[in-house]
Symmetry: C2
Amino acid sequence: MTASLHSLTPPPSLDPLVALTAPDMNAVNQVILSRMQSEVPLIPELAGHLIAGGGKRMRPMLTCASAALCQYNGSRHHMLAAAVEFIHTATLLHDDVVDGSGTRRGKRTANLIWGNPASVLVGDFLFSRAFELMVEDGSLKVLKILSRASAVIAEGEVAQLTAQRQIETREDTYLHIIEAKTAALFSAACRIAPVVAEAGEEAEDALESFGRNLGIAFQLVDDAIDYTSESATSGKDLGDDFREGKMTLPIILAYARGSEEERRFWKEAVGGERTSDEDLSHAVSLLKRTGAIDETLERARTYARRALDAIAPFPAGKARAALTQAVEFAVARTY
Amino acid sequence: MTASLHSLTPPPSLDPLVALTAPDMNAVNQVILSRMQSEVPLIPELAGHLIAGGGKRMRPMLTCASAALCQYNGSRHHMLAAAVEFIHTATLLHDDVVDGSGTRRGKRTANLIWGNPASVLVGDFLFSRAFELMVEDGSLKVLKILSRASAVIAEGEVAQLTAQRQIETREDTYLHIIEAKTAALFSAACRIAPVVAEAGEEAEDALESFGRNLGIAFQLVDDAIDYTSESATSGKDLGDDFREGKMTLPIILAYARGSEEERRFWKEAVGGERTSDEDLSHAVSLLKRTGAIDETLERARTYARRALDAIAPFPAGKARAALTQAVEFAVARTY
């Protein structure tokens, strides 16, 4: 997208999605707040820190918008969208322990404040509570979709751990990892809506595909942003992936395209031998010069188009328009 | 039990339970081995270390014996017993991360070999896989029992974390914690058997009570053993609880019964200021002299009798005899 295009049309925004799902999300937030309670005070305290901590609630909004797209008029999706957010929150808590992260959404992470043990255990609680919510709803089909997604997420996280600091990680391995750790929950969040709406298998497949492709696009952009954002606006530490030796597409591409000297740099960097601010600056300049960032964003746009194609058969209207803008927003983000 | 009694009747043993459930447990082990597989090699490698690592498989054996007690002839309980063992294994993996343990069942812990991140994530995988198995079986009633148990276990673990190094922890808090972290899964493992056997609510309640009381007795004895065992036979490090400042019943009783000087010692010990071998020896001598160990074991025997009362209404036979010996074995253990 060029600057002149930007000046003619307003930039894509999440606002239509937020507006479309606002009444539903009120109900979802009620479920979230009431069901993260426990007689053990540390649980709502720690969970609340993250849950109230400025997340966009992207996944439950997708469930609600998908339900709207299927013209669903019931309220079963509220409890299920809350379950999706609990699963997501549980994985964030465990991720921060795994990565030793100190900042999330611009705030200190729970593991930094309450320690790793509490983060692990409260994650387990939220995860169990998510399944309790699904059981309460009573759809075995939904339970199957979300238990499968949860197992796939964990597999993706372990695969990512295995690939960490491995400079030879291939692009298909990377894609497989982000499909598992990120896109699986996006696609499950979308697919459960046509299930409760009884919209049929075609709608289920379409929304699963929408969610999967959006999820991949979303993660690709996240992985690019890790090298381009300014920490203050992203709420994340710039270069976290770099210092952790995480093999994301920008590095895979820059390594593949690099000179012998550059490849040596990348090997040392991914191996953990180059962690200074100067090293990060050098990395960013290489990523830009080799076009690795642009190419990563270009691929993200390809997946975004696939996502939009997947929902093209649904009737035009507010729901489809909101989801369309959400996809465009996901790949236009630059912070 | 006195020495002369011991010489007249053979000591209680797990053998009848093992023999009773052997054919079932063959099938359960098949499920466990095939369903812990993943295309991510680290998952079966790490999970296998713990799963193949000499655990007694107490909980799935209880599911199988409970099914036998209900004269169940099907095979649905095999998959569900495997799910129970997966949940248990997941909690062990996370427990060892939480406690920073180095030894489990006489072997190095997974977190020591593969690191905390891998242990957290493989635990998450096994937990998700457990729910996939339950969904495959398709009983919402079973799903409800085990998702509830999982949430309660996590609550119990967080409550235990909160009580750690808190000398003023009361006995009812402690009982509440072990009911949650240990007895909840024992009781769920037992209750799901009459559910699949369609043995009726009375049988469900009876077996749940059996499992809960056995679980409490089991944990009480474990907490006593932590101060009396020889590491070589228990497969656990002697005094782990002591060094972690874990508030278990032996300490709660010894503190309550102690002189002013002794209470000062316990405060320092639980606070983490007395961790030498001499301190541990002194602690053990205090626990013995105040009768705290004996009293803990006596309480365990009370819960054991309740467990036996709970299954008294079931027909006499091999299953009831095996469960009876298992209970007696649980409270007669001294290693």
